[in-house]
């Protein structure tokens, strides 16, 4: 009798364990798993978009290959995140010193309706001189964002205006155009600068 009770408990415990495992599998790997939060950006060599830089020159992903690259999406009507990120990037570039000159640093607008070539020129002029501003047609911006796996969305505000939600991470690529890593918004400089150095070093490794 006691033995049967013990067996009963054992069976219940096993059943519970099995159920836990099953629920775990369902939620992590099974059909209940959340969709991947963000997949990795494509190599620059596999992207395809046509934009214009802040000096009016036609540019595309191929413009960025052969040098390590740092890319960030934003918009100039952004009062908080974008000036902060561009200030951060300027600080990182200052910390890199002369090495900063070896990099492409590009700010791509997600709000081309308001961010014309002239607007971008004025805006990037306030930050580190290495930073380039790219804008272009809506569909080309969309293709660029797709390649970087970045997302953005236009959101109306109270005053009849609008703001943009957008990916605020900074993307790093090596000189071959391969994605190296991402610097998240708010990442402290002591983590950001070594990540950039890594992107710079991959170039040396690729060359040997």
């Amino acid at each position: 009798m006691r033995r049967r009770t013990a067996l009963g408990y054992g069976a219940t415990a096993l059943g519970a364990m099995g159920l836990t495992l099953f629920v775990g599998w369902w939620r992590v790997d099974g059909p209940g798993a959340p969709e991947a939060v963000a997949s990795l950006p494509l190599p620059l060599t596999e992207m395809d978009f046509r934009l214009t830089d802040h000096e009016g020159q036609p540019v595309g992903p191929e413009t960025l290959v052969d040098r390590p690259t740092m890319v960030f999406f934003g918009f100039t009507f952004c009062p908080d995140v974008c000036p902060t990120t561009l200030s951060d990037i300027s600080g990182w570039l200052d910390a890199l010193g002369e090495d900063a000159g070896q990099m492409n640093v590009v700010f791509i607008t997600v709000d081309p309706d308001r961010d014309t070539v002239e607007t971008m020129a004025e805006y990037v002029g306030y930050f580190h001189p290495a930073i380039r501003g790219w804008t272009g047609a809506q569909d080309q911006i969309a293709r660029a964002a797709e390649g970087f796996r970045a997302s953005y969305e236009r959101v109306p505000t109270d005053g009849g205006d609008y703001t943009m939600n957008h990916t605020a991470s900074v993307f790093l690529f090596d000189a071959a155009g391969r994605f190296v890593s991402m610097i998240d918004y708010h990442e402290p400089r002591e983590f950001a600068v070594p990540k950039i150095r890594r992107a710079l070093e991959e170039e040396t490794e690729g060359a040997t």
Binding site: P79, D80, V81, S90, Y152, D158, G159
Partner: protein
């Protein structure tokens, strides 16, 4: 004109005095390290940052802000999702517990200054009034730093 100004000043002073005496909560609010970035023109919203400390014994609730600089000033909050997407929305009322502080800093809470009435020029400053639920308010003079400033030190 001068007479009107004096009358207005007198009224404001009286108001300030009476509210000061009548209300305890907002009296215990101290604002440190206020700063804002210069703006490019007047079309874009500006942002101001500061630390709002409650040195009193009771919680205080910030209900809104006002400034002659902007038609629509509002406390907003930037949040960044797990996928790295940043968005911005009105923060609503902000309650600060006794001894605590609300930190308005880049990438989080900020005073969003919509519909600027004049350009924000580096080296200048503007008054910003914080309104509290007890009817009291605190006005701070916010220095305007460079466009690429990262903190109250520039």
């Amino acid at each position: 004109m001068t007479k009107l100004t004096i009358t207005m000043l007198a009224t404001l002073t009286t108001l300030a005095l009476t509210t000061g005496v009548a209300l305890a909560g907002s009296e215990d609010v101290v604002v440190d390290d206020a700063w804002a970035r210069a703006s490019i023109g007047m079309n874009r919203p500006g942002a101001a940052y500061m630390t709002i400390r409650n040195i009193g014994d009771e919680a205080v609730t910030l209900t809104g802000i006002s400034t002659p600089l902007a038609m629509m000033p509002e406390i907003h909050e930037t949040t960044t999702s797990a996928a790295g997407v940043s968005s911005m929305a009105p923060a609503g009322e902000i309650t600060i517990a006794p001894g605590e502080a609300a930190e308005l800093a880049p990438g989080g809470l900020h005073a969003m200054l919509m519909q600027l009435q004049e350009q924000m020029i580096e080296g200048q400053s503007f008054p910003l009034t914080l309104n509290f639920s007890d009817g009291g308010n605190v006005t701070v003079e916010v220095p305007i730093l460079g466009f690429a400033a990262r903190g109250p030190e520039g």
